[in-house]
Symmetry: C2
Subunit: 328 residues, 2 copies
């Protein structure tokens, strides 16, 4: 993969997807003890960066494509559903039945057929393969697909421009990392456009397959796939395509607790006025609460998604958005 | 006032304040039955458009200025506090003691001295005048000040560019309206840069002094100043400077209920991933729920602020962010 693939993906996205904002707050800088910039991918179409990769892939399908299918905990599925709708293609999304309600509802509302399965008792891959074969659907992989990695990399092109506008040269770029599509794509883009930036993946504690794989020099798996609020980024193992890219360009990885994610969500609410879901808040959580593990200087945290269920968001506010007494 | 004053304010803000994003969602379009665009001023520095006018005014103060003072329910105060900090000037903000806690806390955290008063028993103007005289502070008015109106007008310059990029020509622009600084400034900017757009102020029902004044052709007051969740835009009457501008360029006004504001806050959370406060949600509420009163075609709603207290935001989500059943 090279920068040209990311540039052509950016050309296909231009005018179709917004350039997401690059936010900051003096309050967050104070907590982190350094400048913190937030790339607000929650404001991308469908509420996460996933639309970038989905459109980058779906826009390249041949005219005789019969339809598309995706496996997803919900964000990739929404991205593919919208991309398919924009191409006028039927779309099926295979989702776990315990996915957040908002993601199930939105994927269907975007016109996709949502097929749920039980994560403990059903074989997702067999279910999807049968559907795809029966209907002649084209599978859009969530991360191990060059067009998807290139699409996610367009986020990195934007970061390079937005950082340069603010005279940010050397910086740590923290990504919310599941299978590594965003991390690999952004790292490829920044290698060429902002080579002084170091890309480091962030994962939920206990589900840090990428961090452990980078440390071990081989692809390792997570012991389990449930038990974190960060549903969006609980993937079994680094991708076959994304891992070598991350090995060459990224690391070391970081891990944050569920509590730190909820706290970061509350701070993004209070200070940035954006809505983050837990899996979209891990990078910001690392920026705010794990400064001891970061090189000095500015941090750019990619806030990868905002599809938070209202009940969970209320919990995050209730627990962590308490205001200090005002003396009135 | 002319467009040149707005352009020079924009030049002073360039590189200092972000260009706020112009967001949309197919879900909101469906509710409104028309394209709805949201100018997300909640993502401006200090969480509202008020920093624009504050910096436009404070940046022009002479070098021997001893300090500044502002009266504010909290958003203008935060804008002035940050502007003063950037100029290295002392700042006092006179706020009602029942202002939202987040606004009291943030104004102080931005380095201002917060002086609270009881809205029922104390005379705000006398309190402020005494402080200003004692310390030689310069008053930064919230809306009846040409530099402030020009600063708020920079939001209109951005809207003209962002709408043109999306081929939006004729449109209704809805503003969240208190004293009319934002409304007048945006209307002046659009008169020159997007003359096919109609600017209409939106207020809380029962506090629609601007709508009634525009209808009557003279400045009328609100009967009361408490009793709405929209604290940010409960002003006694249209401004002396802003009213003639609004008379010439805007109207008729619209009014929305508190419930509609909370519902719009929940939809902005679900669909746009942004945080709005009630007073910052009136324009979106009108776009979504008062389509019958609007000309056909696209609507641009300025979401003017996001400084919502967490407890109120939780209430909005609890009441209005219910998801339809997912069938699982």
């Amino acid at each position: 993969m090279n920068i040209y693939e990311i540039e052509t993906a950016a050309a296909r996205l231009a005018g179709r997807a917004p350039i997401t904002p690059f936010l900051n707050s003096p309050f967050l800088d104070e907590i982190a003890g350094r400048p913190v910039w937030v790339k607000a991918e929650c404001l991308q179409l469908t509420g996460s960066f996933k639309f970038r990769g989905a459109w980058a892939a779906v826009s390249m399908l041949p005219g005789d494509t019969r339809g598309v299918i995706a496996y997803s905990s919900g964000n990739h599925g929404q991205g593919v559903a919208l991309a398919a709708r924009l191409r006028g293609l039927p779309c099926a999304v295979v989702m776990p039945s315990d996915a957040p309600a908002l993601k199930l509802v939105n994927t269907a509302a975007l016109g996709a057929e949502v097929v749920t399965y039980d994560r403990l008792s059903e074989d997702r891959d067999a279910l999807g393969a049968r559907l795809a074969a029966e209907r002649g659907l084209t599978l859009i992989r969530p991360f191990d697909e060059p067009l998807v990695i290139a699409g996610q990399g367009t986020c990195g092109l934007e970061i390079a421009v937005q950082a340069a506008e603010r005279d940010i040269g050397r910086a740590t770029v923290l990504t919310c990392c599941g299978g590594g599509g965003l991390t690999a794509g952004v790292a490829l883009a920044l290698e060429h456009r902002a080579p002084m930036m170091a890309v480091r993946p962030v994962e939920p504690a206990g589900f840090d397959d990428v961090a452990r794989s980078l440390a071990a020099g081989e692809r390792l798996s997570n012991a389990r796939l449930t038990g974190s609020v960060c549903d969006a980024i609980l993937t079994p193992a680094p991708g076959k395509l994304t891992f070598p890219i991350m090995q060459q360009l990224c690391g070391p990885g970081l891990a944050v607790s569920d509590e730190e994610c909820l706290r970061a969500m509350a701070l993004a609410f209070l200070r940035l006025k954006i809505v983050l879901e837990p899996g979209g808040a891990v990078a910001l959580a690392a920026a705010l609460f794990h400064g001891e593990a970061l090189a000095p200087g500015p941090v750019i945290a990619i806030a990868s998604g905002g599809n938070a269920d209202p009940a969970l968001f209320r919990t995050a506010l209730e627990r962590y958005a308490d205001l200090p007494p005002t003396g009135r």
